[in-house]
């Protein structure tokens, strides 16, 4: 039951994009087509889960014993950057079909604040390893949901006449606001 609540809260109530404002650049940049959005979302899930587990273990077994917690930011971002590189090489060599669908998105993910954000958040929330793992899945699934919804709306909007100065990002932001407003309604669920 607790796990179910964690998922509902991370996907709907505290959606990482619409309520916590993490990962806006890919949200506005890669949401022009549903296929691209799904690829980006899947890659984010993959990297976020790996990065959260790795940084958690690193924090527990290296940083805490050596009292290096104050260097959290620098270690985490370097771990994530290295991890993304390794994942890219590994997929290219071992799982070419997966690389073909996710590989192109990987370099962009290093600087996606959702990944580093989740890795830091699980420490601020004081989760244990298992809960962190579940939370990272749920949070990035929320990202996937939001970006795919947005891409669906945008594909339709491409056929509409929009005032020139509202085209592109301003319009995307206002749509995000309306989506965020509807997600706000999920607050009553918990």
């Amino acid at each position: 039951m607790e796990i179910f609540l964690l998922f509902i809260s991370a996907i709907f109530v505290n959606n990482i994009l619409l309520a916590q404002y993490l990962g806006n650049c890919p949200y506005l940049g890669c949401s022009k087509e549903k296929g691209v959005a799904i690829g980006m979302g899947a890659a984010v899930i993959f990297v976020t889960v790996l990065a959260t587990v790795f940084t958690y273990l690193f924090q527990q077994y290296v940083m805490v014993p050596f009292q290096l917690e104050y260097l959290q930011t620098i270690f985490f971002i370097l771990i994530i950057a290295a991890l993304v590189q390794f994942v890219e090489m590994f997929l290219k060599k071992m799982v070419p079909p997966l690389y073909k669908s996710l590989g192109i998105f990987l370099p962009l993910i290093t600087t996606n604040c959702a990944v580093l954000g989740v890795a830091i958040l699980v420490h601020r929330l004081e989760f244990d390893l298992w809960t962190s793992f579940l939370y990272s899945i749920a949070a990035s699934a929320g990202f996937l949901l939001a970006i795919v919804l947005m891409a669906g709306i945008r594909e339709r909007l491409a056929l509409c006449r929009i005032p020139r100065s509202m085209q592109g990002i301003p319009n995307g932001l206002i749509m995000a606001g309306i989506m965020s407003l509807s997600f706000l309604a999920f607050k009553g669920m918990i």
């Binding site: 806006n24 506005l28 601020r124 309306i178």
Partner: protein, 239 residues
Amino acid sequence: MATVMQEFTKGLWKELPPFRLVLGLCPTLAVTTNAENGLGMGLAVIFVLALSNVLISLVRNIIPKKVRIVCFIAIAASLVVAVEMLMQAYAYGLYQQLGIFVPLIVVNCIILGRAEAFAGKNPPLASLADGLGMGLGFTFSLTFLGGIREILGVGEIFGVGLFGPSFHPFTFMVQAPGAFVCLGLILAGMNYLSVWQAKRAGVQLDPHFDAGCSGCGACKMMDQIAAQKKLERMNPAQG
């Protein structure tokens, strides 16, 4: 000297980071629930951006091209750790208010965007001017957005009440949807202004004009990917 001055002033209006270049949206949306938080975040970004620009510009000829992004991130991360410690020591309340967005300055596209677009190609003095100007522009924008949201959402500015007890606050503005809508409207206003200016000057604007995040290049890459996928779908035989 004149060019250095130019680099400084361009960040203040012509290339205002969040409103014109559309860089660094996450903190822009997240910390602007009031003007004070916006100002504090802006100051932290000025510090990191100015110093990272200078350092990157100093080492720009030493780092190999292939690993430059990782080097930029490492430099920015060290500076962010310094900012975190300074804030914990001297502005603990603000540090707690800004939450995870202080460490997230590392992955703010404004830092990497300026490093890629400017500091990696220009001498230290010009880079310092660019960093300071961009940082100041960012601070102004965040304080402005925070001010609007605070006035409408709480009826205060910098914590000082404005309207008296009869004012009914527009709570929507301090919540997440308000941030998105408010920023969207400001960006639309800026676009409208540049279209109007171009019309008055008699210049034809590019018909595919889009306030693009020119710094990070992610969107451009995504468009290429989308085009490529479309091609693949049209000629499945080749794939």
